[in-house]
């Protein structure tokens, strides 16, 4: 038994050192992740910059309440991803509506809006997420002033296979989103990821070798921009813009 003492001490020492390091650098890591999310929001809207904070201060963050489909005020820091796993701040998505396989959806989600001088919406970024092949893809979709034309899409976290589903990060594929239309004239979400190259203005190039990821992307677009997601709020914003 004596022989085992040193290896045991080594194990305990390793465990302690690893935990201490992990805990002590956590704040820096969180900061990096926050920064990364902001970068992705800006990138989705087509802004590439080093000065993240100054660019980000031009954005107005609004909060959408999915129950009543109105914009609400939220005080302090609010993490909608965290809220989506908390029973008090989220609700179960009914099985027949749950095309993006979310299981739970937060009650309130942020949207990021650029306003012009005349208080008109210039562009808007919506957080989206949904199940691909191996796990949930988290990202942002940006819409133009008409709240129908896509500006860009960015994913900040996913577990898809590099080279196949991981091609959602490919700049060439992402550039195919620019200018595509989300809704048809009756207000239905028709944008989808097709197979092979896209030809219509509501089609996105399929990712070869990644049918399930492509379907996942289609489903999350359909869910989040549909009537259970941001759809009704976007409609209200569009009507308001038309009245001005």
């Amino acid at each position: 038994m004596n022989k085992m003492i040193i290896p045991l001490i080594a194990c305990v020492a390793c465990a302690v050192i690893v935990s201490v390091t992990a805990v002590s650098v956590r704040p820096e890591q969180k900061l990096n992740i926050e920064n990364e999310k902001k970068l992705k929001i800006l990138a989705a809207a087509g802004i590439v910059t080093d000065k993240v904070d100054s660019e980000f201060s031009k954005i107005k963050t609004l909060y959408v309440d999915f129950e009543s489909n109105i914009l609400v005020e939220v005080n302090g820091a609010y993490d909608h991803i965290k809220a989506s796993s908390n029973a008090n701040s989220s609700s179960l998505v009914p099985k027949d509506q749950d095309i993006a396989i979310l299981k739970r959806r937060e009650n309130i989600a942020p949207i990021y809006v650029w306003y012009s001088e005349a208080d008109q919406i210039q562009k808007i970024v919506l957080p989206i997420r949904g199940y691909g092949l191996w796990g949930t893809l988290y990202g942002y979709l940006s819409l133009d002033a008409d709240l129908n034309t896509v500006k860009g899409i960015e994913y900040y976290d996913h577990k898809e296979t590099p080279g196949l589903g991981g091609e959602v990060d490919n700049p060439t594929w992402k550039s195919d989103w620019n200018g595509k239309k989300v809704y048809d004239s009756s207000g239905k979400v028709i944008l989808y990821v097709t197979k092979g190259p896209s030809s219509e203005e509501y089609e996105i190039d399929g990712i070869s070798g990644a049918t399930l990821t492509s379907n996942g992307v289609t489903n999350m677009i359909r869910y989040w921009l549909g009537e259970n997601g941001y759809g009704p709020v976007l409609e209200k914003l569009r009507a308001k813009a038309a009245n001005v």
């Binding site: 290896p7 194990c11 390793c14 050192i17 690893v18 390091t21 650098v25 890591q29």
Partner: protein, 227 residues
């Protein structure tokens, strides 16, 4: 603990660079050499990460080498190596986020890098701490030497940049082949060829020579006689 002479220190540090290179001679740690050598800055961080892990793991394993029961030595080595790798990974995520994202799984895969395990098992288990540490550092340098050359070739001729700075003329076409992992095989192959043509002692004996009757007898006789 005996002091180590300058000569010995130099030998420990510099023989792994050309004479006994872990990649070029021992052909260890190839997979990360293929995967992380697209850009110089990322490669440099990988080299620093691996060098610090192999140096420290050799040191710690050597310190407790007399107390590790033989039957569980690999597990103890792995515990120490993987703890060091996790620490490096956490530090990269905190202070070099961009690079850590590009390195992705390959930092974690240092745990299974044959160089780290190989030096622990072959050297640190049999030698005193300071010597082991120098040996680990030397092998890290040897690994870095190969990786940095491969990365330099791939970045300069692949994307026309060096550490992100434009080096080639503006209209230099991107050479996609060099940006894909298999190109490293060829670059490392050429490096091994060059190294071995200078130091003949590294040339291995042909383990599976062709039988004499399978090709022209005259030439075979000459080669067999000389080799």
């Amino acid at each position: 603990m005996k002091a180590i002479s300058v000569k010995e220190t130099r030998k420990l540090l510099f023989t792994p660079i050309v004479e006994n290179n872990p990649i070029a001679l021992q052909i260890l740690g190839i997979c990360s050499a293929l995967a992380v050598t697209v850009k110089m800055d990322v490669t440099l961080i990988m080299c620093i990460a691996l060098t610090s892990v192999v140096t420290l793991s050799n040191l710690f394993i050597s310190i407790i080498r007399h107390y590790i029961p033989d039957s569980i030595r690999i597990i103890v080595q792995m515990t120490i190596i993987s703890s060091l790798v996790i620490i490096v990974d956490e530090l990269l995520k905190a202070y070099a986020y961009e690079a850590s994202k590009q390195l992705s799984v390959f930092v974690g895969l240092i745990i299974t890098n044959c160089i780290v395990m190989g030096r622990a098992e072959a050297y640190a288990m049999k030698n005193p701490p300071i010597k082991s540490m120098l040996d680990g550092f030397g092998n890290g340098l040897g690994y870095s030497f190969v990786l940095l050359i491969v990365a330099a070739v791939r970045e300069i001729f692949g994307s026309g940049t060096f550490f992100g700075m434009q080096l080639m003329p503006e209209n230099y076409p991107i050479n996609n082949f060099l940006l894909l992992p298999p190109s490293s095989f060829i670059i490392i192959g050429i490096m091994i060829w060059v190294i071995r043509s200078f130091s003949k002692s590294q040339v291995e004996e042909n383990e599976n020579p062709l039988k004499a009757h399978t090709f022209k007898p005259l030439k075979v006789k000459k080669e067999v006689a000389s080799g």
